[in-house]
């Protein structure tokens, strides 16, 4: 090191200062590593805990949320609460559990307005465009409608009735003369408010709101839907279809 260079006498004070720097620097590196590991692991959030409307994707959310609780304070229905150590989500961050208190989808979205950092994205102005999660029928075996009964509760409480949840009829093979009214969720319109999960009459809800990344999966970009492309183009994309060779056995073959 520089201390052993020519013309510079070995100085015990300088050596001590360098030793301290190395010791403290080492300690700081250990602390930073542990904190980093803790920070990364805090992204694991239980599926039943949902973020407020407009929340950035979890990774960005944890870089933005300062855990101030202003969204919690401005929620008029006490839906939101701040996470304590045992709640599941990162300590101090806001969340709600749909089965306990669902989101009432206020028109003016006070929680988003209250957020000082943009962890709740201020570009969300239409609550119908929120994506707190997506409802999924998690138990086809117990859903009353799927057993041929008429419950319909999830469908009727849905704030986006007939868009986010529709009832699709099919033949009831068991009775052979009735219809099954299956509740079907359309992810495009579902905000993840959780009214359906809250209202499910079963002891264990058959419909649950799951975080977006668990339920509404991305379509791979290289898949193009022919009918959509056709609509975009305003007609057939190719008016002279390829002439494919006719593959059939040679004229002289058997058959």
């Amino acid at each position: 090191m520089a201390a052993s260079g020519p013309g510079i006498p070995g100085n015990p004070r300088r050596r001590k200062a360098l030793q301290d720097m190395a010791r403290f620097g080492g300690g700081a590196a250990v602390a930073a590593t542990m904190l980093t590991a803790f920070g990364v692991s805090s992204r694991a959030k239980p599926a039943q805990t949902l973020r407020p409307p407009g929340a950035l994707p979890e990774k960005q959310f944890l870089s933005a949320c300062v855990r101030c609780g202003l969204c919690v304070r401005d929620c008029p229905y006490d839906t939101l609460s701040l996470a304590d150590w045992a709640s599941g989500p990162a300590v101090g961050t806001p969340f709600f559990v749909a089965r306990d208190v669902p989101c009432e989808m206020c028109d003016n979205i006070p929680c988003v307005k209250a957020c000082p950092t943009g962890a709740l994205d201020h570009s969300l102005v239409d609550i119908a465009k929120a994506k707190m999660g997506v409802a999924v029928i998690t138990s086809r075996e117990t859903c009353l409608n799927l057993q041929g009964l008429r419950c319909d509760v999830c469908y009727r409480v849905c704030p986006a009735i007939d868009k986010a949840i529709t009832l699709e009829t099919s033949h009831n093979a068991r009775t052979a003369k009735h219809a099954i009214f299956e509740p079907v969720v359309h992810a495009e319109y579902c905000t993840g408010c959780g009214k359906c999960e809250k209202s499910c009459v079963l002891t264990d809800a058959a419909i649950k709101v799951l975080p977006v990344e668990l339920s509404a999966l991305r379509q791979d970009e290289h898949y193009r839907r022919g009918w959509e492309e056709k609509k975009k183009a305003g007609g057939a994309l190719d008016d002279a279809p390829l002439k494919l060779p006719v593959r059939k056995p040679e004229a002289g073959g058997s058959q």
Binding site: A2, A3, G5, G7, I8, P9, N11, R13, R14, A17, D20, F24, G25, G27, A28, A29, A31, A32, L35, T36, A37, F38, G39, V40, S42, R43, K59, Q60, L62, S63, A64, C65, V66, R67, C68, G69, L70, V72, R73, D74, L82, A83, D84, W85, A86, A90, V91, G92, A114, C115, P116, T117, G118, A119, H122
Partner: protein, 313 residues
């Protein structure tokens, strides 16, 4: 030892009860005041400040943001909304005027607990203390910001006992008070002023502001000092006192310039000779320009090879 156990006795006899405890009383009122701003809402429905010390909104118009939390968020690569940026600037300017670590002594909810531990230490005669250098906390600030960069999240706020205690008090998240209980035990049994004085990165951050902050404590009447050492016994950062109190010989001004000073005023209360006062940094102006011609402290000379050459040649 018994004199150190009750350092305020002499000042009380000399100046009376109020003059020897007014900063302590004012600090406790200030701490309760800042807590009451946040707690009156959830307790009585009178909403003054919403949120926590990390970020808040007072009367719906005044945004305040802890600049250290704000800095962590920037380090985690989030570009925040203007509201929190404005709040951080307001707080930053406030502490540039009012002394930096005055946050620690006048606002922070952990302070009464750390003070209790320090008081018990004196009364119980606990003298053992682990030797931790005060600079360690600066490395800890670096570690906190590095963890924000590396994890892309505000990682420190997962365990920060300061904001956790405030959330515990304001939002009823009682697990968060566990860190403060640990601080109490650590301060009482392991290291004197161990948390606030050696480890807390929040205080270390405000200490950096304190290095240039306007409001300071000064040993104005240092000629009257009778070397009773009471101020050293009660000061949470005793190393900040001597450069100002004993600086006459080296030509240093009477103002305590170190950012580590929390402006708690304990030295003002405890001094029976009325040596200390609140003051402005600028009062050190004239003497400190003189003092630049004085020889630099030995450690600084030693740490720079060039200057040591100059000294030897």
């Amino acid at each position: 030892m018994t004199a150190k156990a009750r350092p305020y006795l002499e000042a009380r006899a000399e100046k009376g009860l109020w003059a020897s405890s007014r900063f302590l009383v004012l600090r406790r009122i200030s701490q309760l005041f800042f807590l009451a701003l946040f707690i009156s809402g959830p307790l009585f429905g009178i909403w003054i400040a919403k949120g926590t010390l990390a970020a808040s909104m007072t009367f719906g118009v005044l945004p305040l943001t802890d600049p250290f939390v704000f800095l962590q968020s920037l380090a985690a690569r989030h570009w925040p909304e203007a509201t929190s940026a404005l709040g951080a600037v307001i707080v930053l300017v406030g502490y540039l005027l009012l002394g930096g670590r005055s946050y620690c002594a006048w606002v922070c909810p952990v302070n009464p607990v750390a003070d209790l531990a320090a008081w018990l230490r004196r009364r119980l005669g606990i003298t053992y203390t682990a030797k931790v250098r005060p600079e360690l906390r600066l490395y800890f600030v670096g570690a906190v910001l590095a963890a924000s960069v590396l994890s892309g999240s505000i990682a420190w706020e997962l365990i920060n006992p300061v904001t956790a205690l405030h959330r515990a008090l304001v939002f009823g998240l009682w697990f968060g008070a566990g860190g403060t209980a640990a601080i109490f035990v650590f301060d009482l049994l392991v290291a004197k002023q161990g948390w606030c004085g050696h480890l807390c990165p929040v205080g270390a951050f405000y200490g950096q502001i304190g290095k240039v902050a306007l409001l300071r404590v000064a040993a104005d009447d240092r000629a009257a000092c009778n070397d009773c050492m009471d101020c050293f016994a009660v000061c949470p950062e005793p190393h900040v006192i001597s450069p100002a109190l004993k600086g006459e010989r080296s030509g240093a001004g009477p103002v305590i310039t170190s950012g580590d000073c929390t402006l708690c005023g304990a030295c003002i209360d405890v001094c029976s000779k009325r040596v200390f006062n609140l003051s402005l940094r600028a009062r050190n102006g004239a003497p400190s320009t003189q003092s630049t011609t004085m020889p630099a402290p030995a450690a600084r000379v030693a740490s720079s090879p060039r200057s040591s050459e100059r000294v030897t040649s």
